[in-house]
């Protein structure tokens, strides 16, 4: 964990990883085709970001942060372990990313869209409401979660930060 410009600790989440932290921490990730899943507990002021690469693990347990169906449960388990209680009914979500810069050689292989669909399905199944979505397009995005406020800000290359 590093200190940011404002003296607030910052965590960077790499591709295929996740992080959960109590306030005050800024959690950041950079997204292309991957989807960033933000979970936030307003009461506990605790937040998490998963950097999901693919929708479905198909039983692969080597890199749980890589897949939507393993990363989201793993992140929720971290909330519950750190708080010592069930998170049901306490979490809200925001989702960001899923862009497509290149035409793939397989036209049906729109990973960004598949990731988005999988994340929506998994969050719905767990009853976690999605408060905001910033998805698609053809540019990368920088996502920052402020665990103090739950604010999620997004920046595209050459642009300014905006909240979603």
């Amino acid at each position: 964990m590093a200190d940011g410009a404002g003296g607030v600790a910052e965590l960077f989440v790499s591709m295929g990883k996740w992080a959960v932290a109590p306030a005050p921490v800024l959690i950041r990730t950079l997204l292309g085709s991957c989807v960033g899943v933000v979970l936030y507990d307003r009461v506990a002021k605790m937040g998490g970001v998963a950097h999901v690469v693919l929708p479905d693990s198909r039983g692969d347990t080597a890199l749980p942060g890589k897949y939507a169906d393993t990363a989201i449960p793993a992140m929720i388990a971290d909330f519950e372990r750190m708080q010592g209680r069930k998170s049901q009914g306490r979490l809200v979500a925001k989702i960001v990313g899923g862009a497509s810069m290149f035409q793939t050689t397989t036209p049906t292989l729109n990973i960004g869209k598949q990731n988005h669909d999988a994340v929506e399905r998994i969050l719905a199944a767990r009853g976690i409401p999605i408060l905001a979505r910033e998805l698609g397009g053809d540019a990368g995005r920088r996502l920052t979660l402020d665990t103090q406020t739950g604010t999620v800000s997004v920046r595209v290359p050459g642009g300014a930060d905006y909240d979603i």
Binding site: S14, L30, L54, L63, M101, F102, R142
Partner: protein
């Protein structure tokens, strides 16, 4: 070659490095002619990298880079990416326009076009040389590599790498990247050429170098 058909042994990676040096030599000749000064391309890295380590391979993740992306198809499919820091890309425009370094300060249509033309020249030379030196593929496979038109983008370094490796990441835990660096006698060229095959083409490379 490992049982998954995509992992390359150190020996295979060295062999690929030797083959790709041929592409780099052809790129050196083409770029030297295009820029009017000696430029030397060298293969700096041929490696399979864990996807969790990909984000930082072009330097700071949040740095904005300029990229000219060319797809290629034929014997192999994938992406060839000529990546510049902003300063290096703008210096290229000065070099091509015979202006003092520092004259160009923004990416207008002219600078973007100059960057894409440079990518086209070096990319075509590189791919033609690879076509000539790649070991034999499957029967009936086309032998040539056909480049697509380069496309200019400004992107976060980490996001660009994600876009580039996504097809490989969809099938593999580790992705193959072949990185070429540039050196010139009269200028510091902070450029990188990345060769990123699709999973299918990576399997082809693994088979043909086994």
């Amino acid at each position: 070659m490992s049982s998954d058909g995509h992992s390359l042994s150190p020996l295979q990676l060295r062999l690929l490095g030797t083959i790709f040096e041929r592409g780099a030599e052809a790129g050196s000749r083409a770029l030297t002619q295009w820029l009017g000064q000696a430029v030397h391309l060298t293969i700096s890295e041929v490696d399979q990298v864990d996807i969790t380590e990909v984000s930082g391979l072009l330097g700071p993740e949040e740095a904005t880079v300029a990229v000219c992306a060319m797809s290629f198809s034929g014997r192999l499919d994938g992406q060839l990416l000529l990546v510049f820091s902003d300063a290096a890309g703008l210096a290229l425009a000065d070099m091509l326009l015979h202006q003092p370094s520092g004259t160009t300060i923004a990416w207008t249509e002219l600078e973007r076009s100059a960057a894409c033309e440079t990518a086209n020249i070096v990319g075509c030379a590189y791919l033609n040389a690879l076509s000539a030196h790649l070991p034999g593929g499957s029967a009936g496979q086309p032998e040539t590599l056909i480049p697509g038109p380069p496309e200019f983008r400004h992107e976060f370094a980490a996001s660009l790498l994600q876009f580039a490796v996504m097809e490989q990441a969809s099938a593999l835990e580790r992705v193959l990247l072949i990185k070429t660096r540039f050196q010139a006698a009269r200028a510091d060229l902070d450029w990188v050429l990345l060769f990123v095959p699709t999973p299918h083409s990576l399997a082809d490379l693994a088979r043909s170098t086994a």
